[in-house]
Amino acid sequence: MTSLETTMTSANQSMIAGGHHYTTTGLDNRKVAIWAFIGSECMLFTSLISTYLIYKGRSLVGPFPHEAWTNPQTGQAFPPILDIPVTSASTFVLLMSSLAMVLAHNAVVNKHVPKTTTGERILGSSKLWLGTTALFGLIFLMFQAYEFTSFVHEGLTIRTNLFGSSFFTLTGFHGAHVTAGVLWLLSLLAIDFKRGLVPGDALNVDLAALYWHFVDVVWIVIFTLVYLIQ
């Protein structure tokens, strides 16, 4: 056997052991790619958050996020537009979806570990946790749809002022990412129902989980900078 053949055999063995083909770094290309993608997404959201912060407090007309405003022409009064209790609830839902996601990944990784107690069976159900994550993601989107609709009814659209433009762009982009994440989760859930996810699928679930957690950390920043800091 030549040294090249030895290398190839070693690579094939590691492919079998590692669940992915041979790479020079020894890391799966898909996981490297998702981290590179997340890094680029960091910069996208930073540009949107920067735009929001630069325009913050520079709107000439209301409604404003934290202050009441009366239109001098019509005399119409507008209360502060942000609804902190509703957004706090949606933030909590998204945080819990991250917990459910990590439990789903954990359940897939430990699929073949025998479960004896009810608690272990619940924690080991990937269908339950994937479904919970997708459901929480949908609830978050419903909160966002409610918020956007109420803002429009209260007179704030994307064209009203600088706050409206930067707010709808930033949270709209985030909402689009959540939507993509929910679709990804639902596709994994469909696979789980069709043939069952096994430890060999752990990386596929991990990639979705990384994306989902990233969407969550972006919201952690948005919630503080946009909603809480006045």
């Binding site: 992915h20 770094t25 890094g39 919630f223 800091i229």
Partner: protein, 124 residues
């Protein structure tokens, strides 16, 4: 060819490589994930609570404390839920590198156009 083989030998898939079956051995248990979830909830409650204390909102501590709490939540999710604390160094670099560039861009833009510049008297 022997050199070729030796050069690649350390680069074959290590036990802690992504996708390796025993990767999860270094990862926390479900109980740890639940504890982290409770911690994140408590920090969020503290953030919202702080928002509803007018004297605290008016104080100079309000913004820094919110930023610190947000940063703690961010770091916890990235380190534990995204497994960055336990994963390969390359993944850490792929995230931390762009994150630092993004953070510096944000600070730079705030200096150029934002309230930071106004406070420092650079921009009216």
């Amino acid at each position: 060819m022997a050199q070729h083989s030796q050069a690649h030998a350390p680069l074959t898939n290590a036990p802690d490589a992504a996708g390796a079956p025993d990767e999860h051995m270094h990862h926390p248990t479900a109980a740890t994930y639940i504890k982290v979830g409770i911690f994140l909830t408590l920090v969020t409650v503290a953030e919202v609570w702080a928002y509803y204390i007018p004297s605290f909102v008016a104080s100079r501590l309000f913004v820094p404390s919110l930023l610190i709490m947000s940063a703690v939540k961010f770091a916890t999710v990235v380190a534990v839920y995204m497994h960055l604390k336990y994963d390969h160094k390359l993944f850490r670099s792929l995230f931390v590198g762009p994150f630092l560039i993004a953070a510096m861009t944000l600070i730079g833009l705030m200096f150029l156009f934002g309230k930071l510049a106004v406070r420092l008297g650079i921009l009216n």
